[in-house]
């Protein structure tokens, strides 16, 4: 069982070199909780013109924190980042373009047959 132990040690070593301790993860969770609190506060308090940008920024920050720390992406191989971020960016860009096209670029009055729409 020598070799098995060696490999266990290796993996053990790898994981303790990366990532946070349990206490660290709890701290991250607390930060997420606070950010969520601020998000929810927008329901009760009028943030005015910064409401939508704040919510979007908070959303992105929370997203990034969970991905980097809880999902370990910050400490792991770049290969995982490429795989995930490619899908993420593709989704954001493509659907932003689709949404913009459907919401803003079309003529809501319909298609005028005299010119292509």
């Amino acid at each position: 069982m020598n070799t098995a132990t060696v490999s266990e040690d290796e993996t053990h070593q790898e994981h303790s070199d990366h990532g946070l301790s349990d206490v660290g993860y709890i701290k991250v969770a607390l930060i997420l909780a606070i950010l969520t609190g601020v998000e929810v506060a927008t329901y009760f308090v009028d943030f005015g013109v910064v409401e939508i940008p704040s919510l979007l920024i908070l959303m992105v920050v929370k997203f990034q924190i969970v991905v980097s720390y809880f999902m370990h992406l910050k400490f792991d191989s770049k290969v995982f980042s490429y795989l995930f971020v490619t899908g993420l960016i593709l989704a954001v860009v493509v659907f932003a373009a689709m949404g913009t096209s459907l919401a803003f670029w079309q003529d809501p009055a319909g298609c005028d047959a005299s010119a292509f729409c």
């Binding site: 909780a33 997203f63 290969v79 795989l83």
Partner: protein, 226 residues
């Protein structure tokens, strides 16, 4: 690139009943299949698979979320009933969002505990995560039945169809995650999943966190942003 990790080699087995037995015990848990074999990247096939799948799932939820955003305010001559946004109970949903968020923490703790070979701890955190996920689902069910009673069903109008489809897909993802977590709890309890297979829990954790980050987006753009 040349292979980077060493292959753990099992000692040669003599052709005896005892060794066949120990072979069988391992075989039943397919632990031998999860040696960390040499791969070009040094990463296991299973973990690369999960990250690739999650990248793909981004497109799925991107399509569903943008469909909802495009449908939520559309009206036509036959439109009736409230929109989903009319009926949101933000305080309630905030609580269930918080619950799901904290389940990510417990998931991470499950992973770290099995990495430290603390199997009982791992079981506890796995179960807690599954429980928190179940509370989230229960909250969804409560919320949706409430909507239904207030006149917002799946077929009521286009915004309701989109809302329930989006949240329904998310809920199914969560439910599948709960099934996987409970399965892992069972396997750990039966001794079929030991600390050498911590990566399995880690991989399920990745899926669970993904389901959480999708909800982070849904909570913001569907519920909170007016």
């Amino acid at each position: 690139m040349a292979v980077t990790t060493t292959q753990p080699r099992r000692p040669p087995l003599a052709d005896t009943a005892e060794t066949q037995t120990s072979e069988l015990a391992y075989g039943r848990t397919d632990w031998d299949d999860h040696h960390h074999l040499p791969t070009n990247t040094g990463l296991t096939n299973e973990k690369v698979t999960m990250w690739a799948f999650l990248g793909s799932d981004c497109l799925l939820f991107g399509a569903l979320i943008s469909t909802y955003l495009l449908c939520r305010n559309r009206v036509g001559p036959a439109t009736k009933g409230p929109t989903a946004a009319d009926l949101f109970d933000i305080p309630f949903t905030s609580v269930s969002s918080f619950v799901l968020l904290m389940s990510s923490l417990t998931m991470v703790l499950a992973v770290t505990s099995i990495q430290r070979a603390e199997m009982e701890r791992c079981k506890l955190w796995l179960l807690t995560t599954a429980a928190l996920g179940s509370i989230f689902i229960a909250g969804q069910v409560y919320e949706f039945t409430g909507f239904y009673r207030e006149g917002l069903g799946f077929t009521t109008n286009i915004s309701s169809s989109a809302f329930f489809t989006l949240t329904g897909f998310h809920g199914v993802h969560v439910s599948l995650g709960i099934v996987m977590l409970v399965t892992m709890w069972v396997l750990v309890t039966r001794g079929n999943l030991g600390p050498e297979r911590a990566e399995t829990i880690e991989i399920i954790g990745l899926y669970w966190h993904f389901v959480d980050i999708v909800w982070i987006v849904i909570f913001a753009v569907v519920y909170l942003i007016p």
